[in-house]
Amino acid sequence: MSISYKNSSSKNIAIINSSSTINNASKEALDAALIYGSYEQNIALFFQGEGVRQLIKNQNTEAVRVKNFLKTMAAFELYDIENIYLCKKSLIERGLEEDFHVKNIQVLNVNEFLNKLHHHHVILRF
């Protein structure tokens, strides 16, 4: 492709993921995130609402016949996806502990979460 992606790297891309793990949108959000990562874009992932469950350890998605695509998240570092934010309020509402299967997750309160989001030029939501 002819486009120089390096030149546009000043643009910050956010992917908001608020879908439950078993929803197809979760995987489609992850696919998009990995592509942005592989094109060396400044990509950040925002997990909120039901989306926070995707980061919790030891989920048995196969029990409900959903392929365990969460394993792919182990490749975030490889794709230079370093900014992963999670809404603390969503976690508390669901009674979930901060026990994640992905490293370096930043758990933020609502204001911090929104402030981070405001630093992005493109926001895609799933």
């Binding site: 546009s8 197809n24 489609e28 696919d31 094109y39 926001i123 895609l124």
Partner: protein, 133 residues
Amino acid sequence: MQTLSVVITTPPSSYLTITAIDFIKNAIEAGISVVGVFFYQDGVLNSSANLSMPNDEFQTPNEWRKLHTMHNISLHVCISACEKRGLTDDIEINDISFKSNNQQQSNISQYFTVSGLGELVELTSKSQRTVQF
């Protein structure tokens, strides 16, 4: 010149798709350059060659066709999202009988470009703004 890219994630039956079409038309009228539309998730259903809307309803497929033919707007569909939803440009492999009966090798409308997620990256990086529906 202001530049815009649009991401469609809703099916043709969704009111959001109608809103998106109106939005794009108004952007063109306002002199904004629409660098492309990317169809992802259920949005790819808009690219089906077999869509047929009742006459008295909003003609979503015609509107996409017009945006492409009259305004030269690229309509990119994510092929992996398509194939999950029964849309393919390679029917030959999936169903030989379908091909021989209809002499048709794609059920994706000719006005759409078969692409991948890389195109989404390209569109977001070459437009000043991206709007998702």
